[in-house]
Symmetry: C2
């Protein structure tokens, strides 16, 4: 048996309006055909090694993975205060957030090995919120997956714009989304006629896929290996369905 995997990675500059963004692409160079592309949207700390590693994991599954940069080239928060300021800026300007994530989507589609008709987006924390916003923009993609994204429904009518399938992977003890927020999001999806699924992982809080988050649930954000593995498996199953 020959080991075929030859994962290539590189930094990719692209633009949204006049703003330069710096993304990252990962793919298996040994695959000779075009294949589905997955957009990966970062957490509130901006594009870090964490998202790049996820992109490499996706490349190993046979996808072309492209990490979007929402904040802009060189804008890499160094601490939670800076991260909160950046994330807050985009969460309070959903149109700008949509423009930024759509620029990433366009950059993904332009990657030579991508089958531009088979596209999905995943996101972690802030990135989970962002891929839901991408769906609400009416993006013509197959699906989005949110991992411990902030869940709310800024405009309950937005759901009716959603064309793609939605999978939400959520920590059942995540303190950053209230039951009311989750109920509002469910209602948005319901009223919009969206094909949506929500998985709640018992015992998991915010950031459950992030090993750097430690293991103290009382802090509200912590790694949870079971929920990490289960949500990754759920994503793989979701991709198997939407790219069938």
């Amino acid at each position: 048996m020959t080991v075929r995997a030859a994962i290539r990675t590189k930094t990719v500059e692209y633009k949204q309006g006049d703003t330069t963004l710096e993304g990252f692409v990962a793919y298996d160079d040994a695959i000779p055909v075009k294949r589905p592309g997955i957009l990966v949207v970062h957490q509130w700390m901006g594009l870090t090694d964490y998202e790049k590693h996820r992109a490499e994991m996706l490349a190993q599954l046979g996808y072309v993975a492209f990490c979007a940069d929402i904040y802009g080239k060189g804008v890499r928060p160094q601490n939670p205060r800076e991260a909160g300021a950046q994330a807050g800026k985009y969460k309070s300007d959903r149109q700008l957030l949509r423009a930024r994530v759509t620029a990433g989507l366009d950059a993904l589609r332009q990657q030579p090995s991508v089958d531009s008709k088979r596209i999905a987006a995943i996101g972690y924390c802030f990135g989970g919120t962002t891929v839901l916003e991408l769906a609400r923009s009416g993006a013509d993609i197959a699906g989005v997956v949110s991992f411990h994204g902030g869940l709310d429904a800024p405009d309950p009518n937005d759901g009716k714009n959603i064309k793609c399938k939605v999978l939400i992977c959520h920590g059942a003890d995540d303190p950053f989304s209230s039951p009311q927020d989750i109920a509002a999001l469910e209602d948005e999806m319901r009223k919009g006629g969206v094909d949506w699924q929500l998985i709640k992982y018992g015992g998991a809080v915010h950031s459950f896929t992030q090993p750097m988050a430690g293991n103290d649930n009382s802090k509200g954000a912590a790694y949870n290996e079971k929920a990490d593995k289960r949500s990754w498996a759920a994503m793989k199953e979701f991709f198997a369905e939407i790219f069938r």
Copy 2:
């Protein structure tokens, strides 16, 4: 390639106290080793061809599947009124329900090809409620899966008795479990320190795995092919984890 599958099925009489029950077993006779056993608990109409078909599907996956009979040999409701009376009898006597489902579990364990240390239980509608009750009894099994089970928490302290993993597959529009009931069940699991997961399928109502339920969501019970396939895939992934 040789087709190995040789699915065998048979009716199995067993007892709970003085009551004779009539179950059904399915397994692949071509598998030469002991393998995990799955208890299948029926809907409110009692043990029907629906559950037997699910058992055959499980046998095709390589499991020994045993359909429990909760109501008793010959007790097969012919209409919703009779079904409601039977289901109501056991829902209002959880100790009897536990005794009946445990008898099925024992009968499953006695099947010659079952690895009695690797056991799970699944249930549909009334059977979903029943397998949660089996978990609450402290059953020493690996996991339970409820498909559109009635969800409530008759005794919120029961969760602490649960030793096995719990997967709940639920229609997001199921009118037979109120948001309050679901929240109470989540709290029971949370307080009990249970390893639990809840999947909500958007657009699905009660009976979403049951083709006989038709396709009119406004009736509160209807088949939903997507949710059926997705929940079956989630169950397979759950088994892959617990029987690893």
